[in-house]
Symmetry: C2
Subunit: 485 residues, 2 copies
């Protein structure tokens, strides 16, 4: 029998070499982050680099150092860009150094948080308990970290479906439904809610999109009217989804009003808080979220405004039993014990889709210890101030136009030189966006509001300065004027 030290394995043949390589990676990463402001906010992958990604898998080893060289040359220069201080596209956080190092440690330990008696599960339990405190849900609630907002909404909707359908959905399936189950949300609801409803087998027809008011929050009267109409038509209302920060404009629905309606109508109240729920950490913003503590389930994202590296979402559910009853399955090979590794409670796999689960809790745990909650709150408040500051720059400029009320940290605007037809104005702003990206100047994204193309910035960025927004306003106007000529 081969002695271990001579046996081929996936461990390095030379540990010292691997240690040096690890040090080099840390050095390079820190240099990369120190220099992030000096690099373009985005740049395209050149065609000759793209071609390198079309080769088949190597049969023979080339070693760790060579694999790292490929990364440094062909991947590192072409990130999505959300590490950059002038990236405000879609909705992403920057990440942090310690968050990334924690992901390394988590992968070294390589614990499986599906269940069992080991420390990583205790870390996740603590992190989830912290989230309950932040949102204002009771400690008896359940919850778990998930991949992100889409999965958080999926879990919340799954529990809502099973808890409110009125029959045993797990056993019988939706074929047994007397009438269509209905989930209500505003027309501004995130697409992940529709995706979740479709995957859960309810069908897009089960999603009732309720009109919004001028501030893009749900029209409560229209919601209650729709519920009544649906009941009369033989449908079965099950759930209302409230927005705590909508994707287009950062609008926060009247959560107290929604909680009242859900109570009156006996509906599950889920809140999509992927964008705004963590603003509970910011004392000046917290009042806008009043009512969130009355939700039956809240989805939140820590890789957005808490700047954890991808992925780190979270779902909280007030009714632990309803949550567990939706997901728990105990085949013989997963039977629980009271001693040994198979002991321990809760098993997180009883509360979500996954059985094996990575230790994403570690980066959250270490980062909250590193910074403390108050600093995260200040970062959030500064981004909101920056959104308002940029809004003032837009309003003060004769050729910029605000396209919606500013919600939290999201500003929708456009270049508006006057005298252009709608289609030409859309095309002009689209071209401005392309030039901002291609020039590496900044990364806004875009949306369409009332049929009009908008530039859109979502400022979940702990590296942005106020000057970055002055630069954005200046560059949009410069490019816009050049193009309009």
């Amino acid at each position: 029998m081969t002695p271990p030290e001579q046996q081929e394995s996936l461990d390095p043949a030379d540990w010292d070499e691997m240690r040096s390589l690890g040090h080099r990676m840390v050095d390079d990463a820190i240099a990369y982050l120190i220099g992030v402001r000096e690099r373009p906010a985005w740049q395209a992958v050149p065609e000759e680099t793209r071609a390198l990604f079309r080769t088949p898998a190597p049969e023979a080893p080339s070693g760790a150092a060579a694999a790292y060289r490929d990364f440094v040359q062909n991947v590192l220069p072409y990130p999505t860009g959300n590490v950059h201080p002038r990236f405000w596209g879609w909705y992403m956080g920057n990440g942090t150094v310690l968050g990334a190092l924690a992901d390394f440690l988590a992968s070294v330990l390589n614990s499986n948080l599906g269940g069992g008696s080991h420390a990583a599960n205790l870390v996740e339990e603590q992190v989830v308990n912290w989230m309950k405190d932040i949102i204002g849900l009771p400690q008896e609630s359940s919850g778990l970290l998930v991949s992100g907002g889409s999965m958080a909404n999926f879990v919340g909707l799954a529990v809502a479906r099973n808890a409110k359908a009125g029959f045993d959905v797990r056993e019988l399936g939706l074929q047994a439904a007397g009438g269509q189950l209905i989930v209500y949300a505003s027309s501004e609801v995130h697409s992940s809610v529709q995706k979740g409803i479709e995957l859960l087998g309810m069908g897009n027809r089960s999603l009732r999109k309720v009109p919004v008011k001028g501030n893009y929050t749900i029209d409560l009267a229209a919601l209650e009217a729709a519920i009544g109409t649906d009941r009369q038509a033989g449908c079965r209302p099950v759930c209302v989804v409230g927005n705590a920060g909508s994707i287009n404009t950062g609008a926060i629905d009247d959560l107290v009003g929604l909680a009242d309606i859900c109570k009156r109508q006996r509906l599950w109240f889920h809140i999509d808080g992927a964008i705004g729920a963590v603003a509970m950490l910011a004392p000046s913003i917290r009042p806008l979220l009043a009512g969130i503590e009355r939700a039956d389930s809240v989805g939140l994202d820590l890789h957005k405004w808490i700047h954890m590296p991808f992925e780190a979402g979270c779902i909280l559910v007030r009714d632990e039993e309803a949550h567990r009853r939706t997901f728990s399955l105990k085949p013989e090979y997963l039977a629980r014990e009271t001693r040994g590794l198979a002991a321990g409670a809760p098993w997180f796999s009883d509360y979500g889709l996954q059985l094996s689960r990575e230790f994403r809790a570690l980066k959250v745990w270490m980062s909250i210890k590193e910074h403390g909650l108050a600093r995260f709150g200040r970062m959030i408040e500064r981004n909101v101030e920056q959104a308002r500051h940029f809004g003032r720059l837009v309003e003060d400029a004769p050729d910029l136009e605000l396209m919606a009320p500013i919600g939290l940290d999201i500003v929708c605007f456009r270049f508006q030189p006057g005298g252009l037809a709608d289609a030409a104005l859309d095309a002009l702003n689209k071209e401005i966006l392309m030039r901002l990206h291609e020039g590496g100047i900044a990364v806004p994204s875009y949306t369409t509001l009332n049929g009009r193309y908008c530039l859109r910035i979502a400022i979940a960025n702990h590296r942005s300065t106020f000057e970055d927004f002055e630069s954005l306003a200046r560059e949009v106007r410069r490019i816009g004027r050049e193009l309009a000529r």
Copy 2:
């Protein structure tokens, strides 16, 4: 306006300090892995340590070094244990150093693989293309990395449901189904398939568990008979799930036989290959998997036998259009462009539940370059040989009993001193397991086969030596004899 260098952010106030801390983490991690064999395979978290995980979140910062100290003292000593050479519980890989470092790099870059034009998406595309080659699916197939086998099965089943239901499930929901949709699998199917079916709204009643033969593979005649009976009863068969390595015993269904039946019956053929699909890399094992290349979808797990740190699963789907039509949703804020960051194809979010997605492809990409495919194949072959070696040790020992045919790398056995009633024998073996865990000797897990409690080892371990299995046999017999006295 505050200049950037004076502005509070989540970046370290002192980069040099963070660099030193990063080096220390690398040093500690490497020492931890070098010494892994000298530590217990598992140890319980002491009660005084558990208490530390019950404190509320700190408002004030304590800094990165203090957060790391907490990790080293209270988390690092109490892992799940799958890094250890004598961990063979459930089904997990060990992880690798470069895999963990790649997770660090991925989190530094913090790219979002939901979509867009940037290098990380090209890496994932390449990795998925490599997987198609390994499994033998055509390059025109689609696929993406997912959290693991549960999600891989979920995606495969979702596509199967929508492609074979015979009506527009996405729009109408399963309320519109004429009869119950039926998914077939052997009684040995993994619980994640049931969980997927339930979440997809089909209901547990839609899962038809077909009996197995003595070798724990699906009984093809019973399957085809069940399909016929269901059709006559007005149900709608949609999918057959084949096992490529069952969870209890590593059994591989007759995949050619299943492919023939699916073709004849016009059913979707999904393969749960979480355990065994990657054994396609091992020339001596590949023939056992014949037929896998005829599947409509294959789920596989790279955090199992390829030893990627959690999480790294993969789903491949032959019919790209059916895959995309199940998941793709394009709201206005995710509209695609032909230039800038919003260009690029495919967008992986069109093929799965998640919108934001972490860069899990990097560890796979770097590790395959590091080791080459052939070495992974050799590691797999050695584990299979070790299973057979341990099987011989069991058969040669008068008081050990093999409980099922050895499938791939999984051995089910028990201590059998003779003369004990069934219940006493179960209790004895359960106690042996507890003592193996609590003594830190080794981590087998357990299952129940034909009503009898078994010890079970699943050898996805690149650190195990043949001696480790001799040690296991010896220790089981030693503890067993002590207890039996």
